[in-house]
């Protein structure tokens, strides 16, 4: 596999709602600077933002890595959290373990992972209870972008 054209790491702090979304915003601006198609940028930005919010809310913080390759744009969200005990349930729209406090700021509706799945061509989730979660997301470039 060839080296990525660009790789950028963003560090996410747990419960830092003041800066939550900044990483996704910076990633979005980077993609716009590269001149990617608006729809591609929007899909990556939404996936990045949902992943970032998951790390802020559930994952005790972590790292979001953006890679631009020839064939696809990849995001890897690696958190320090408790892991997902029932992944099948977590992928269902409407299922959430978020607190009322989180719901008051507009999240915790159980749409995070389903939203990510909706935006990307590939979604891989590795999780172990007590050992954190790694979410890998890819949006294809070129003719099979959609």
């Amino acid at each position: 596999m060839s080296a990525p054209l660009c790789k950028k790491e963003f560090y996410i702090q747990k419960f830092d709602f003041e800066h939550a979304g900044k990483a996704a915003s910076d990633a979005r601006k980077l993609l716009m600077d590269y001149g990617f198609d608006q729809q591609i940028v929007r899909r990556v930005a939404i996936a990045a933002y949902e992943a970032e919010m998951n790390m802020v809310i559930h994952g005790y913080g972590g790292t979001l890595i953006l890679e631009i390759n020839f064939e696809y744009i990849q995001l890897v969200a690696e958190d320090n959290g408790p892991g997902i005990s029932d992944l099948k349930l977590a992928m269902q729209e409407g299922f959430s373990t978020a607190s009322d406090e989180i719901r008051e700021i507009g999240f915790g509706a159980g749409m995070g992972l389903p939203n990510i799945k909706r935006c990307v061509n590939f979604l891989g989730i590795e999780t172990k209870p007590g050992r954190g979660t790694v979410v890998t997301m890819r949006v294809n470039l070129g003719p099979d972008a959609l």
Binding site: F17, E18, A20, G21, A24, S25, R28, Q38, Q39, R42, R43, A45, I46, A48, Y49, E50, M53, I105, G106, F107, A109, G110, M111, G112, P114, N115, R118, C119, L146
Partner: protein, 127 residues
């Protein structure tokens, strides 16, 4: 309808006067659930919300929305206005309720946020 017209219809105050409000909006979405906004809106959608935290602007930025109307007269902190300006997301404020705001806009021809016929892209919502 452009955002000046929206402000007029909703008796709204423009909180980001330096931004371009001549941009057109054709559809709107009323919600306090931001993941729903990310899932079911299209670029240039006008968002009506009772949320006043910075995540409402971040959500609008990621989803490339046309603007935000803060409804039911909720107090908007200066930091929200600053972030909206920085993200180029027009911010309006009205004392009207969500229901009446949506009603006035619908009556004026603004459409719900639904998928275009024949569009099979991943971005347009399927509702």
């Amino acid at each position: 309808m452009n955002l000046y017209d929206v402000a007029s219809k909703l008796d709204a105050t423009i909180l980001t006067p330096k931004l371009d409000l001549s941009r057109q909006v054709y559809c709107a979405y009323g919600a306090d659930l931001l993941s729903d906004v990310l899932a079911f809106t299209r670029p240039s959608t006008l968002l009506l919300s009772g949320l006043i935290n910075i995540q409402v602007v971040r959500t609008a930025e990621m989803a490339e929305l046309g603007g935000i109307v803060v409804v039911r007269g909720k107090p908007v902190h200066h930091s929200l206005q600053e972030l909206a300006c920085a993200c180029k997301i027009p911010l309006l404020w009205t004392e009207l309720t969500m229901f009446e705001s949506c009603g006035r806009l619908y009556q004026s021809g603004i459409k719900p946020c639904i998928k275009d016929a024949g569009c099979d892209c991943h971005v347009c919502p399927s509702v």
